[in-house]
Amino acid sequence: MKKMVSFCMAAVLAAAVSTSSFAATKAVNPGSMEFHQDSFTEGEVGVELEYEAVAEPTYTITIPMGLELVKGGATSTFKAEDISNLDGGKVVMTIVSTRKSGMPAACPDFALYRGHNYVPYEVQGFYEDGSSRMVRELNKEVLSFDKDGEYKYRVIPASVIPETGTYWGNLTFQFDIV
């Protein structure tokens, strides 16, 4: 009887652990489970679990798809989700490249390109406290945040746009927790 109870308890334990492993957090994938019993007369009942840890994303930031340049400037939005456990830090956003593959080397940073025309621009990041920051150089903080929300920046042409049409250029943003 004692053996039977022991066996049943082990089975229940195994089932419970199995269930919880499938409902586990996203940081762990269910692995294999082994059930051991030395004999049906005496011995120990044990359960071995094996997990394969997979590093998964912890937050998401939605960035604009492209770069819009209109007279007077165009405002775009970042959306930050699941920002947490920053250990007192914050997410700092910088721009590390404004180039697109195939753009001529002569095209300067922070400029869009079309034919023989370049339109320089600058970026203004808006902070939650109402302040803002103008950026014309790579690797400078545009904005920072430490919680979920929508954050805005504005791309402002620094000169008159010489002609209408498609101008080429991309932004590569960098997100760093500091």
Partner: protein, 171 residues
């Protein structure tokens, strides 16, 4: 006499026609020149899909606003733990399902600029969960960057991208 006059007329008409064609061609070239010159010299290259990418069945941080916002969702990694002295690692390099673009991922060590891993194109809704690094790392903490390049689903034209700084914890 009359025949000669007709010939002259025909010649004049032909000349006028040729001049008109040349003039029209010149105007057309002039108008199109700017458009021909505007595009970047290198057309987007046709890239391969990454065969290691599988359907993503895991969870992603939820959209709490309830409204869909046009844009590219970039997954962030505060830190990544991988085993020491092993080249085979498990990191979920995910392209969220809603995205209008392919992703490529590159894992780069900050100190040296060394590329430890580079993927091919990953479709939206898929993730690469197992990678073989170019070399194993000793135990310790390393500053690293996941460079995410984005390419339009339509024509693979490059779109805005992102670098995600992370801490590589090698244990």
């Amino acid at each position: 006499m009359r025949e000669s006059s007709n010939h002259k007329l025909i010649k004049t008409a032909l000349l006028a026609f040729c001049m008109l064609v040349l003039l029209g061609g010149g105007i057309f070239v002039g108008i199109q020149y700017q458009n021909w010159a505007v595009q970047p010299a290198a057309a987007p290259m046709e890239q391969e899909l990454d065969g290691a990418a599988k359907d993503w069945a895991g969870t992603v941080p939820p959209d709490q606003s309830g409204e869909s916002q046009p844009g590219i969702k970039i997954p962030g990694y505060a830190s990544i733990s991988i085993p020491a002295n092993e080249q085979d690692v498990k990191i979920s390099l995910l392209n969220p399902e809603e995205n209008p673009c392919y992703f490529t991922f590159e894992l780069v060590l900050d100190d040296t600029g060394e590329t430890l891993y580079a993927s091919k194109l990953v479709e939206p809704g898929k993730a690469i969960q197992e990678q073989t690094l170019s070399r194993s790392l000793d135990a310790g903490e390393y500053g690293a960057t996941i460079k995410i390049s984005t390419f339009s689903l339509k024509d693979q034209a490059q779109m805005n991208g992102a670098n995600v700084k992370t801490k590589l914890v090698v244990v």
